[in-house]
Amino acid sequence: MVIYGVYIVSKSGGLIFNHDHNIVKTEHLKTFKYPLDLKLEFENKKIVVNFGSKDGIQVGHVLLAVDKIPVSGRQLSDGRDVWEILEDPKNFPLSLTFGRPKMTTNEKIFLASMFYPLFAIASQLSPEPRSSGIKVLEADTFKLHCFQTLTGVKFITISEPHQTGMEPLLKKIYELYADYALKNPFYSLEMPIRCELFESNLQNLLEQVEKTGISNV
């Protein structure tokens, strides 16, 4: 049983808390000969696989390192341009590391604010009156559960598709939020939550749920 992350979105749609629980690391190291049998492209300040997949490397993965030297943007950390290295047959064979792009904090904020209108439109396009927004969203790799409090705060968890008992867990997280974030005199509403007690309690709760299930909490 795995929970991947917890997000809390404020009434106005901003991300006020996020916690990554189990980070799945996908990294593939492979030695390549010239010419490369993957089509790479430079977009969003990353070198992305555009076409071709082999040995776990998939379309959408980004180039993380060349000969174990980390890549940032299109430069290696020693200042060389990655594109020039890849185009020169003399540099081959090269060992390249590819992996899923890591989500930056900015991207998380962006995604959280993206969920807000989706939630609203789902309720607007409902074929039945008085529908809530998205409560459960399932994809083939994860399941998202969302719980909106009466005050408009949304608690979101990302878990494995078959993880059960997420609704009571969300209520429990709400309880922790009420206890440790709202009762903290240094916490101002709608602002990012930086309360150590909240974080450590949440961490404990998630670990307990993963070990023994929600019924024992």
Partner: protein, 145 residues
């Protein structure tokens, strides 16, 4: 109330076909506008899902559920998007969408030389066959309280 409505979009976002059965609430906009809103939401959902997913996705978004309905989503590799809103009793109805694609859309639209692609479907045959098919599905007749 079981199967509410059905949308079919092509890869460019054109609303090819719309049908409804037990829809109670109208969205208060024209069908065209509603189609655009729906397509925009699906498009965003797709990007949202691929980016928030902890692993590489294959099929991506499958369905979402609110307190009143479930939106089932099926996309073919050619970019056709099938959307079916059902009630929350039976959450996953993807096989219905797959059957609509293979048994109704391919048979009565793709194999009909008079139906032009990328345009709203006007074929009466498609309409009746889809209606028959939906009415034959087991979840159509289930009445929830």
């Amino acid at each position: 109330m079981t199967i509410y409505n059905f949308y079919l979009f092509d890869k460019n976002g054109t609303l090819l076909y719309y049908a409804e059965w037990f829809r109670v609430k109208q969205s208060g906009m024209t069908r065209e506008e509603e189609g655009k809103l729906m397509y925009g939401m699906l498009f965003s959902l797709k990007t949202f899902v691929t980016r928030i997913s902890p692993m590489d996705v294959k099929e991506g978004f499958l369905y979402y559920k609110t307190s009143k309905y479930v939106l089932n989503y099926f996309e073919t590799p050619t970019g056709l998007k099938f959307v079916l809103n059902t009630d929350i009793v039976s959450p996953n109805n993807r096989d219905i969408l797959q059957q609509i694609y293979s048994q109704i859309y391919v048979e009565y639209v793709v194999k009909n030389p008079l139906c032009s692609m990328n345009e709203a479907i006007e074929s009466e045959l498609f309409k009746t066959k889809l209606d028959e098919f939906i009415k034959r599905t087991p979840i159509y007749s289930v009445r929830s309280v």
